[in-house]
């Protein structure tokens, strides 16, 4: 094969790299976002075709089998329900990490015992990051799919055990850098990082998933970049670095939105920070309301802000919420949605569900945009969100979530909260919002309660 062929492949990779950067650039607004997907697809197609020209390839059978099998698995993964997107995302982190780990392992055995120190260090990083991302993501997907218990499992000395495991893996990596001929240490290192991935996710509860998924995203990217170093592929380094920084930025946004420190996130030691305080609900009373009363109040409002949370996703209430949006908009009510960064189980989860229900995206506002609007809001309607609306985060220094940025729903003139019962939220923290004089509690399933409000609004319309 001539050297010019090698150059052709490199040029193709360069074009792919540019297309990947453009893909992310176009993702910045919904208007151009689909161009981003097309740019990414074109870049990928070029890169794969270019690679097939690689002079080292002598046997195309296994490649073809792999591509076909991968497509057979990938198509259904691209067609899952929108409510299943968080677990699908976790699963795809796992597949990405699996690919990287397998390639890293193969490269080690092809090269050992002649592995230069820097190469061995990058290989070890690739396999450790890949391994822990693989099992960690599978655990996260299991929890999100509710195959595994969602509640965090904690025990004494958990952080110590986890950090010790990671330290052993790092120690083995260092030893391998010095003695790459010790081939048996490689599977040991891999095994420990796989175990670490499982244990890392054990103490994580459902509400922490947005941070964890972002973090795993970042790890998956970094391990791919490490693979790029091993294979001397600039394209892979760029894609891995883009993915890594994307996951990193999202985890910073998520951890800020939960008022967690960044070291807390980096070491994966979340989940056990919030120990439940004694529920101080005794002696306080809440006011309930029927769907009819709620419908009357909503119909009389000029401006309504809906605050959705994970409860809306669980109840699959987004389509009923859309009907409510339509009914109120038809009456001239200004309806907007206020979305907390960590609402749901992954970054942007609520936006996707509401977009699926055909609610226009310019009505979906993030926390900083919607908070100044609450004082002019007649009714705030909270659907299945709890801790992100808790005023104690703002004004009660003893609260475990004190300092966490929240949606100021209590600043609306009337607050309505759709909730199954008076049980505290995920973090086990009582929410003073429910005891305010202006708060009405709408007890029931989110989907059926919103449906009843819509029906009442329809009646009112019929009577004039």
């Amino acid at each position: 094969m001539s050297p010019s062929n090698g150059h052709t492949i490199e040029i193709v990779y360069l074009i792919s790299t540019v297309l990947f950067v453009l893909a992310l650039k176009w993702m910045s607004t919904p208007a151009t976002a689909r161009h981003g997907v097309w740019a990414g697809e074109l870049g990928m197609l070029l890169a794969v075709c270019g690679t097939l020209l690689h002079h080292g390839i002598v046997d195309y059978r296994w490649i073809a089998i792999g591509l076909v099998l991968g497509t057979i698995i990938g198509v259904p993964l691209g067609r899952v329900q929108m409510t299943a997107v968080p677990q699908r995302t976790a699963l795809s982190h796992a597949f990405g990490a699996l690919c990287v780990t397998l390639v890293g392992t193969a490269e080690f055995y092809l090269r050992a015992p002649n592995v230069p120190p820097f190469m061995m260090a990058v290989l070890a990083m690739e396999v450790i990051l890949g391994g822990l991302t693989l099992t960690g993501s599978l655990m996260a997907a299991g929890k999100l799919q509710e195959i595994l218990p969602q509640r965090p499992l904690t025990y004494k000395g958990q952080n110590f055990v986890n950090l010790a495991l990671l330290a052993v893996a790092a120690g083995l990596a260092v030893y391998l850098v010095m003695h790459p001929e010790q081939k048996l240490l490689f599977p040991a290192m891999l095994g420990i990082s796989l175990a670490f991935g499982v244990l890392m996710i054990v103490p994580i509860g459902g509400a922490d998933m947005p941070t964890v998924i972002s973090l795993l995203n970042s790890y998956a990217g970094l391990s791919a970049a490490a693979m790029g170093f091993v294979l001397d592929s600039k394209l892979l380094i760029v894609a891995g670095a883009l993915d890594g920084s994307s996951g990193f930025i999202l985890s910073v946004i998520m951890s800020k939105a939960m008022n967690r420190s960044f070291t807390n996130v980096l070491f994966g030691a979340f989940g056990q920070v919030q120990t439940s305080g004694p529920a101080a609900a005794e002696g306080k009373t809440v006011r309930g309301a029927t769907p009819e009363e709620a419908a009357n109040i909503l119909a009389a409002a000029n401006k309504v802000v809906v605050v959705p949370g994970y409860g809306m996703a669980v109840a699959q209430a987004q389509h009923k919420v859309r009907e409510l949006y339509d009914a109120l908009t038809k009456r001239g009510v200004d309806v907007k949605f206020g979305i907390h960064p960590v609402a749901g189980r992954m970054p942007g989860h609520m936006n996707v569900l509401l977009a699926e229900a055909d609610i226009p995206y310019d009505k979906l506002l993030d926390m900083d945009e919607i908070n100044p609007e609450f004082p002019q809001t007649d009714v705030t309607l909270v659907i299945g969100a709890n801790d992100v609306t808790n005023p104690a985060a703002r004004n009660d220094a003893s609260s475990p979530i004190h300092g966490m940025p929240i949606l100021d729903v209590d600043k609306g003139r009337t607050v309505m909260v759709i909730k199954r019962g008076m049980s505290p939220g995920f973090a086990g923290i009582d929410n003073p919002l429910y005891y305010l004089d202006k708060t009405l509690m709408l007890f029931g399933d989110a989907k059926s309660f919103v449906g009843e409000i819509v029906r009442e609004l329809g009646h009112g319309h019929a009577h004039g």
């Binding site: 993702m27 092809l110 394209l235 892979l236 760029v238 891995g240 226009p360």
Partner: protein, 97 residues
């Protein structure tokens, strides 16, 4: 021995580009962003393809083929779902004709 220093340059600069580009992405699109970066990450398939096709050792061929399966499923599934999600985002403002 690959040129590690120039690889490091590429890594650091790409990290900066990623940071600057992704910082500007609206929170509205964080979920499709994650599925798109996942799909782009599947570019690892190029390494897997070479491994599966070079016939260097049985182990390398087996691991390489499995890696091609894993990466391809991400590639196909990732682009499919990202496009499906983005198609759902509609504005309430009237469309241009």
């Amino acid at each position: 021995m690959p040129d590690l220093i120039s690889s490091l340059y590429v890594f650091v600069l790409a990290g900066f580009i990623g940071f600057e580009v992704i910082r500007r992405i609206s929170p509205l699109l964080h979920t499709p962003l994650m599925s798109l970066t996942n799909a782009l990450d599947a570019i690892a398939v190029v390494g897997a393809i070479i491994l599966a096709g070079e016939r260097q050792s049985t182990l390398a061929t087996v691991l390489g083929t499995l890696a091609v399966v894993a990466a391809t499923s991400n590639l196909v599934g990732g682009f499919l779902i990202t496009d499906r999600m983005l198609k759902m985002f509609k504005s309430s403002r009237p469309k241009k004709p």
